[in-house]
């Protein structure tokens, strides 16, 4: 799993597939307001695009796509974005995770709730994506 695939077909196909999977992942994430989807599913798709690169291009080359060391930290950032959205609402005078109180001007409460849902889904996406990448990278690093 460490070294790159020797088949040029796999190399070219994965290089073409990765952006498409990332685009579908972003679509699933952003379209969670209108159709089945959301943070968890979108995060898994985004992680899978990076892991496909790890499988096909090898550990060294795919570091250019995504560096190994930052995954765990970014997954913590994802959870903090979620909790921070809730705390912002708390500090702005509402209850914890009551997005109607988020301090953004120019929105009525339903619009603020729409925005708050998007923000926490972003946190979930980041958390799930980085968790999967961190686990995969550690498995490869420890078993070579």
């Amino acid at each position: 799993m460490r070294s790159a695939s020797t088949s040029p077909i796999i190399q070219v196909a994965i290089r073409g597939l990765m952006p498409v999977i990332q685009l579908v992942g972003l679509y699933v994430f952003f379209h969670g307001h209108y159709s089945p989807g959301g943070g968890f599913q979108g995060g898994v798709l985004l992680a899978v695009s990076v892991l496909l690169g790890r499988l096909a291009l090898g550990m060294e080359m795919s570091q250019l796509v995504f560096r190994t060391g930052i995954a765990v930290g970014l997954s913590a950032v994802g959870v903090l974005v979620y909790a921070g959205t809730g705390l912002t609402a708390l500090l702005a005078g509402g209850e914890f995770l009551n997005y109607g109180y988020l301090p953004f001007p120019g929105f009525d409460p339903p619009g603020l709730r729409n925005l708050g849902i998007l923000m926490i889904e972003g946190g979930v996406t980041l958390g799930v994506m980085m968790s999967l990448i961190a686990i995969y990278d550690e498995i490869v690093e420890s078993h070579g």
């Binding site: 959870v79 995770l97 339903p110 619009g111 849902i117 686990i135």
Partner: protein, 99 residues
């Protein structure tokens, strides 16, 4: 001896589940307790409230997203924390094995 016992237990559990499912109200039954405004115990039903108010509260057409991320946001925060905690635990366990 063990295999027939396992099969017997399996079929008994299956029969119990089939019996339990046969007692559920039919799909879309407007008179079922879970679809009324007020349940037989006299408390307002949460699901009916969500269906009536989800779009007006969050201006989001996907009712499931509104329930998951807004009404039940604290629950989803816990889910995210579970994913994060699990990944960090696996990360540390695998890290310790490195030569």
């Amino acid at each position: 001896m063990r295999k027939p016992l396992c099969l017997l237990l399996l079929f008994a559990l299956g029969a119990l589940m089939a019996f339990a499912v046969s007692g559920l109200p039919p799909r879309g039954d407007a008179k079922a307790p879970s679809h009324r405004l007020v349940n037989p115990a006299g408390a307002p039903v949460a699901g009916t409230y969500y269906i009536r108010h989800a779009y007006a509260d969050a201006r989001t057409p996907n009712m499931v997203t509104v329930i998951l991320a807004d009404y039940r946001g604290f629950d989803t925060l816990g889910e995210t924390l579970v994913v994060f905690t699990g990944s960090v635990a696996v990360w540390f366990i695998l890290r310790r094995r490195k030569p």
